[in-house]
Structure formats: C-alpha cells, structure tokens
C-alpha cells in the first residue's frame, strides 16, 4: 500500500506521523530517498528489491543488512523487498525516539537468523561471524567460537534451556547504557 506518487498526501502524512516515531521532515526525506530508489525501475512497482535497498549508504557497510531487509519485509515471496511502508517501519524502529522495547524486539528478530523465535547456538555463531568480519582470516578459531558461545549462553540463558529467548535478550540489553543510541539509522 505504499505510494509512488511524487507527492505524499497530507492525511497519509499525518497518519504516518501517528503510526511511527518519525517526524514530518523525516517522513518526507524517507519518501524522497525511496522514490530515488524506485525511479530507475518501472513506475508501477510498489516495492524495491533487496539489492537496491542494500545500495543505500546507510545500510551498505552494515553486516546485518540482509537480515534487516528480511525482518522488515512484508512481501509474500520472502525475498526481502520493501514497500514504502516497510521502509517507514524500518526507519521508525531505528529512529532515536523509538523506545528501548521496540528496538530490543527488532534487534532480537534481526539476530534470529533461522527465524525460530529463539537464539540458539547456530544463530549465535552466525552473529559472531557477522561481527568479526567476512573473510577467513578474520574469523575466530573454532575453539574460541565454542568458548565464546558457551560463555554467552552461560550468562544470558537464565532458564538454562540452551537458547536465548526474547525476555533473556531484553534482560541483557537493559543493562547497556548506550544500546538505544547505537541502534540507530538516520537518513
């Protein structure tokens, strides 16, 4: 239900202001950037394919860019393409007025690589690989990875079921004083 018209209607604008954490200027800027992404393609398309979204400078250097697209995408084909409303949802969750709850909720979903609702050992391993770099010589050794994952589980897994669920994740995040300010993408 996004709009590709060059102008954004006033009531749509106020509706978006009500439903997201973005201010009016931010919504208009988002609309402008989204239209730029679409302008090279067919005008009738309402959603931008994932490769185009990943070409945004704000997302290009992010190791979690693909996961972000998959999490916010509402397309039926699960290909990570974003409509304008998905894009606004993305910016709203990453804006600086979003609450800690919503940020931690989306952070959890981004880190949940297999989308099963919990962070198990495989998710954590992929997460650490994203954080240490893509190439072979920057990864941790398997021994270090095993030690790291067992330490993380020992600390974060309070109910000792071998996975980190959303409440345990939020418990770790709530101790961090600057998670809110680092989990931010501003156009």
């Amino acid at each position: 239900m996004g709009t590709t018209a060059s102008q954004l209607g006033k009531d749509l604008l106020s509706e978006y202001q009500e439903l997201t954490f973005l201010t009016k200027q931010e919504i208009l800027l988002a609309h402008k950037r989204f239209s730029e992404l679409l302008s090279k393609e067919d005008r009738n398309l309402t959603s931008v394919p994932m490769e185009k979204v990943l070409s945004l400078p704000e997302l290009k250097s992010n190791p979690f860019r693909k996961r972000i697209c998959h999490v916010f995408s509402t397309s039926d084909m699960k290909d990570g393409s974003l409509t304008f409303e998905d894009f606004l949802d993305l910016l709203s969750a990453f804006s600086d007025s979003a609450t800690l709850e919503i940020k931690s909720h989306y952070a959890f979903r981004i880190f949940d690589f297999d989308d099963d609702g919990t962070l198990d050992g495989g998710d954590l391993e992929k997460l650490v690989n994203c954080l240490t770099g893509e190439t072979e010589d920057t990864r941790l050794t398997p021994e270090e990875m095993r030690q790291l994952i067992s330490n993380i589980l020992e600390e974060s897994d309070i109910d000792k079921d071998g996975t980190v669920n959303l409440s345990e994740f939020q418990h770790v995040i709530s101790r961090s004083p600057d998670f809110v300010s680092s989990f931010k993408i501003v156009l």
Binding site: L19, T74, D115, Q147, L148, I158, D159, R175, F179, K184
Partner: protein, 724 residues
C-alpha cells in the same frame, strides 16, 4: 539389557543444555521444537502472532494483534492496549487495524481527554526537540565522532573527560567571578590604586614566575583587600571565603555524581567476563556507521575485544591451575617488585625535597634566566618524575604476571599515587619553609608555576617528541631508533592522569590564586586542540583495546581523590597558619574564620543559637547515626533482593525443565499411541516399548512408578532390539 538401554537413552538431565542440543536422533530424545504440542503452547502462540502479523498480508485473519494473545496475562494485555500505537512491534497494516479498533473502542472518549492527550504528545515532542537542539550546541561532537570512528571508544572517553573538566572550570570561573572579582571591581574604594600599571622592573618572564606585574594583579591573593563593602555580614573577605567554599562544594557534588553514575553502569555490567561477552556481542555493533573503512575498523575493534576477553578468561583458568611452588615463586617476585616500586617512590620524593630546598635558597647576583630556571626547578623535577616513572611502573606490572586489566589498574593506581603524593610532598616542604611576608602569595605563585609548567610540558611533548618520532618512523622505518620506539599509540591512562593532576593543582591553589580556574579553562581548550592534533596526525589505533567503561569510573574516582587532597590541604592551612599581616583580605584577623564569627555574632538571637547548634556535636553525631541507619537498611534490602533473584532463577530453571519434560512425554505418548493404532498386533518389542524410566527432575524418585504407567501396555519388553 533393558537397564543398559535405560541408562544410555532414558536418563535425561533436563536441567542442563546438553539434553536439548543433543544430536541423538533416537526417538526417545525428541527435540522440543519438533513436538506437536509445542506449537499450541501459549508462549509459542504469542510469538507466532507477532511473526505472522508481519508476514501474512493476504489472509482473512484481520484479528486484533493484541486481543487474541491468549498468552498475555491480564496485565500485559492492558499494557499492550494502552501503550501508544507506534510502540507495537508489528507492520504498518496491523498498526492501522489496531488504531481503528482502538478508535472504535474509545469513541466515547470526550474532547477533554483527547485534548489532554494531544497536549502531552506535543509537550513530549517539544522536549525532544529542545534536547536535540541542546545536544547539537555541545561543541566538538563532530570531532568526537571522527575520533571514535578511527580510534575506538577509549580515546573518545578521554576527550569527553576533557570536555567535562572544561565545563567544570567554566562553572568555577563563573562562581569566582561573581563572588570574588565583582565586589572588588565594583567596590574598590581606592579607585585607581596604581597597581595595575607596568613598572620599570617588569618583564615578560614575570608571566612565567608570577612576580612583578602579575604579583600586583588580581591573579594572586595579595591583591584583594577589605574594600568599601564593609557590612558585618557582607564584606569582601566573607565573600572571598564563601566563594572558595562554594567552588569546592560544587566540584565535590559534580564529581561524586559523575562517579556514582559511572559506578552504577559498571556494577550493572558486573565483573564477570561472561557478561562482557554477551554484552559485546549483542550491543557491540554501532548501526550509525556509514563509512566502509570505519565499519572495517569497528569490526576489527570488536574482534580484538572478544579475543581479549577470551584470553583473559583463559588466563584466569591458567591461574587457577598454578601449583603451590609456582605461587610461591610468583609471590616472592611480586614482593621484590613492590619493594622496588617503594624505593623508586622514595627516591622521587627525595629528589623533590632537594629541588625545593635549592629553589628556596635566594641567590642574588645571578643572571635573570638562571634565577627563573631555579624557580622552576621543583616543577621541572616533578614533571620529569611524573613522566618517566609511570612507564617504569608499566613494565614492572608486566613482569608481575597479572591479567591485562589488573596490570593496567595496578599501573594506574601506582601512577596516581605518585602524582598526588609528589604534589603533597611538595606542598608539605613549602609550608615547612614559609616564613616570609605574604606567604600566601608565595604559595599561590608556586601553584601558578606548576600549572604553567604542566602546559609547557604538554606543548613540548607534542612538538618535540611526538612529531619527530612520527617523522622518524615514517622516513626511516628500519633504523634501530625507529624500531626501538615503535609506532605511537595514544596512551589513555597517562593522559588522563595528566588532566587529573592539573585539575588537582587548580583546586589546591584556588584560595591563594583565584584566577587559576580561568587559566585552567584556557589551558584545557589549548590542550584539547593540541591532543586532537597529536591523535589524528601522529598516532595509530592500538590493537589492545582499553576497556573504557570500567576505567572511566577509575578516572572520576581519581579526580575525587585529588579534590579530597585539595580540601584537606586547604582546611589544614586555614586552621594552622594565621593570615599574614601585610596582604590579602584577612589582614588583622587571627584566623580566617574570624569574619564568619563576626557575621554570626551580628545575627539576631534565635538565628545565632540555631547556627551554633547546627555546628556543634549534638547535631552532627545524631545526623551521622541516622545516615548509618539509612545505609544499613538499603544494604539489607539489597541483600534480600539478591536472594530473591537467586530463588526466582532457580524456580525458572526448574519450571523450564518441567515444561520440556512434559512436552517430551506428551509427544512420546502420542507417537506411541499412533504406532499402536497402526499396528495393534505387533508383539515384538519396538524400541519405544522398552521400559524407559524418565525421571522427572523436580519430583522425587517415587514418581518413577507413575511415569512407567505411560508405557504402552500392549508392547511387551523382549530381549531383541529390533530397530523401529
């Protein structure tokens, strides 16, 4: 046979994680998430709702995202209904539906309610915008961003600390300007006392030594006198004293507040490496980074920190495995090194003593330059000692075989002790020998010289050591000198120590040289730009990352130590020595506090007796007792909370294992029933028929028999194990 089977497959210790991540595909060990009933659990349904609302868009299910949560108990559901729409973690379409539903429900809300809600939203938005505008006014934020991107959070913490000290000094300047400078300027009855003019003997060197022109200016204590403002309770000396006291109390409040806030954060993160690791992995990435180079650097920082934590944990494990002989050897080595440290400290103090004696000895007839150099001998010695000894301490700590954090902390503690103690010794020697007229001016001059020389040292360090070293390493990287010195890193602890030292000097000398905060403000601004230049041009990022969070608490605590030392020095001065009779605003009184006594005496009776009571023991002792009682109650509440948390954690672990156990049991019995339904005549014991005694961990042994009844009665245990 059957027992062996039970032991191999049947016993499940559900309290540990090995059971759930086991790779045995035996039917007995069923993964939780493959059980059929798992999808019907309230917690899974709650999770699935939020997922599906994001993904199915074409389904006819347009249910309200919140009300169909069977898992959300009453309180959570109410919270979900009343929290703002934009805080719901669902996609835009679902938010629209939620809003429409809410409008339907709350149509009866009157105009007053909606107006109030609008007003509160507008006020919150206005507050956010003001906060954003204020934070944009903070200077140098773009510099901080650049530095953080290139050198990490630790170096940025140093510059943030510098900016904080700058603000503190600006505040002190304001207070001093208001209470000390303004009355003197306004009420100076002698008008043009002719003291602020250049005279014949003045020279530029006066700025370095503090004599001549500067001695007669408002910089030092001797300038201020009892002026025409001479009421009993509002006179220049009283304002002078009040100004100094206000400044010290304000500094104390601000530094304590900052230390406590930092300590709370560190305490939350705890002292275990596990917490640091999960914290680093979950909160480590900064999503604001756009530049690919900065992103690569950040990735390498994170990797290095993770490796550092892992290495420290391995060090701890290695330490736990040390034998008695190794411990004995290590302790004797450490004892020797501690003794070495004490010897070095003692030697440093002796040097300072001799330098002080030498500079105090008046020698006329020497060249002017020589006299200036001799004046500066103590500051030079102190600065040299403070420059070289911390590096020696660093190497000693390395030899003592501590973990890396302990090494850094030990070096820091020794260096701060060296700095503060050398300053304290210097002051002590000064006071022992002060028998001159206007000794306050003398003291103020010494502090002034220390401050000026500290700045000169920083300046020389940058331009005569840092830049040449960089030039050498760049031009002749293979020469032995370049290889010896290595690439330059920005050593955060030592730079922070310098800042703490200069701030302590300011506080100590405040009473005798009221313009010190102004000088310090100018100095800090200059130091900021010099250090920025050094970092950006000459240094490379360190591979071993300095853990900023716990050490910033240490920095503020060191600042607090410096402040306490300054307060103690000033207090003992004011009590012991009487004001000199030739200069300053306290001429003629036996102690500095005579002015306050005079003011108190002039107050009406009740006020006087109240004030006398407030400063007597009868008030102070009960106050201290009351504080002790309050602290004890907080501490016992904290302990009770800690115990409650442990108990709740145990309950949580137990109920999760109960849940997993019941899931498995249910699935197994379902599957067994299905199999029996399919092949009712099978007599040969299939695997699921073997008597497995799954022990419920939370129940006692007595339950085992009850569990055994879940066995399928038709399947008989036989000897052969035909695989199913």
């Amino acid at each position: 046979m059957e027992d062996k089977e039970c032991n191999s497959g049947g016993f499940m210790r559900l309290v540990s994680e090995e059971s759930c991540s086991s790779t045995v595909t035996d039917e007995l060990c069923v993964n939780n998430y493959q059980t059929e009933i798992f999808n019907q659990l309230p917690s899974s349904l709650a999770r699935r709702r939020t997922h599906h609302h994001h993904q199915d868009r074409g389904t006819t299910e347009t249910s309200h995202p919140v009300e169909k949560h069977p898992g959300l108990a009453g309180e959570a559901r109410d919270r979900a209904l009343t929290q703002p729409i934009r805080s719901l973690p669902v996609c835009m379409q679902r938010k629209r539906e939620a809003r429409d539903l809410r409008h339907l429900q709350t149509r009866t809300v009157g105009r007053w309610e909606s107006w109030k809600r609008n007003q509160s939203i507008n006020r919150k938005r206005l507050g956010e915008q003001v906060g954003e505008a204020m934070s944009r006014l903070l200077p140098w934020s773009s510099t901080f961003h650049t530095i953080e991107g290139r050198f990490g959070v630790g170096v940025k913490a140093y510059f943030v600390f510098l900016r904080y000290l700058l603000y503190l000094n600006l505040l002190l300047c304001l207070v001093i300007g208001g209470t000390i400078l303004t009355p003197t300027v306004v009420y100076d009855s002698d008008g043009d006392r002719g003291l602020l003019r250049f005279e014949g003997n003045d020279s530029v060197l006066d700025f370095f030594v503090g004599s001549g022109f500067l001695e007669r200016s408002p910089v030092f204590y001797g300038f201020y006198a009892r002026s025409s403002l001479d009421l009993l309770c509002l006179n220049t000396p009283l304002l002078f004293l009040l100004g100094t006291l206000t400044v010290l109390i304000l500094s104390l409040v601000m530094v304590v507040r900052r230390t406590v806030v930092g300590y709370k954060h560190t305490w939350l993160l705890g002292n275990h490496y596990h917490i640091h690791m999960s914290y680093k992995v979950f909160c480590g990435w900064d999503f604001c980074i756009h530049d690919p180079e900065a992103a690569a650097l950040k990735l390498s920082f994170i990797r290095n920190e993770l490796k550092l934590y892992l290495e420290e944990e391995r060090f701890q494990q290695r330490e736990a495995r040390r034998t008695l002989g190794q411990w004995a050897h290590l302790y004797s080595l450490r004892g020797l090194l501690h003794f070495l440290v004490l010897v070095l400290l003692g030697g440093a103090f002796c040097l300072i003593y001799y330098a002080t004696m030498a500079s105090q000895a008046e020698r006329s007839g020497d060249y002017l330059i020589l006299r200036v150099l001799l004046h500066y001998l103590p500051p030079v010695v102190i600065t040299l000692v403070n420059f070289f000894l911390p590096h020696v301490f660093r190497h000693i700590a390395f030899l003592e075989d501590y973990s890396i954090t302990t090494q850094v902390n030990a070096t820091l503690v020794r260096s701060i002790f060296l700095k503060l103690a050398s300053l304290g010794m210097y002051l002590f020697f000064l006071f022992k020998n002060s028998q001159q007229e206007c000794w306050e001016n003398q003291f103020g001059k010494e502090m002034y010289k220390l401050s000026v020389f500290d700045f000169l040292a920083c300046f020389c360090n940058t331009f005569f050591i840092a830049y040449p070293r960089k030039w050498l390493v760049d031009r002749y990287p293979s020469s032995w000198l370049a290889r010896l010195s290595g690439k330059q890193h920005f050593l955060i602890p030592f730079n922070v120590l310098d800042l703490v030292y200069s701030q302590t000097v300011t506080w100590v000398g405040l009473f005798y040289c009221p313009m010190l905060p102004f000088i310090e403000t100018v100095k800090l601004t200059a130091i900021f730009y010099i250090k920025k230049l050094t970092v950006l041009q000459c240094c490379v990022p360190a591979q071993r990352m300095f853990r900023a969070s716990s050490s910033s608490v240490l920095f503020h605590f060191m600042l607090l130590l410096g402040l306490i030392m300054a307060v103690i020095t000033l207090g003992s001065n004011l009590h012991q020595f009487e004001p000199s009779s030739s200069c300053g605003p306290f001429v003629g009184s036996a102690t500095v506090f005579n002015v306050t006594a005079a003011c108190v005496d002039s107050l009406p009776g009740p006020a006087q007796s109240t004030l006398r009571y407030l400063s007597s023991e009868a008030f102070v002792l009960p106050l201290i007792l009351a504080q002790i009682v309050v602290l004890t109650s907080f501490e016992s509440r904290r302990r009770a909370n800690g115990k409650a948390i442990e108990r709740l954690k145990d309950m949580l672990v137990m109920s999760t294992s109960d849940k997993h156990f019941l899931l498995k049991q249910h699935t197994l019995s379902l599957r067994r029933r299905k199999k029996t339904f399919k092949a009712p005549t099978t007599v040969s014991g299939t695997r699921e028929g073997s008597p497995t005694t799954m022990k419920d961990p939370s129940a006692g042994i007595g339950e085992g028999s009850h569990i055994a009844q879940l066995k399928d009665p038709s399947a008989q245990p036989t000897g052969d194990d035909s695989p199913s």
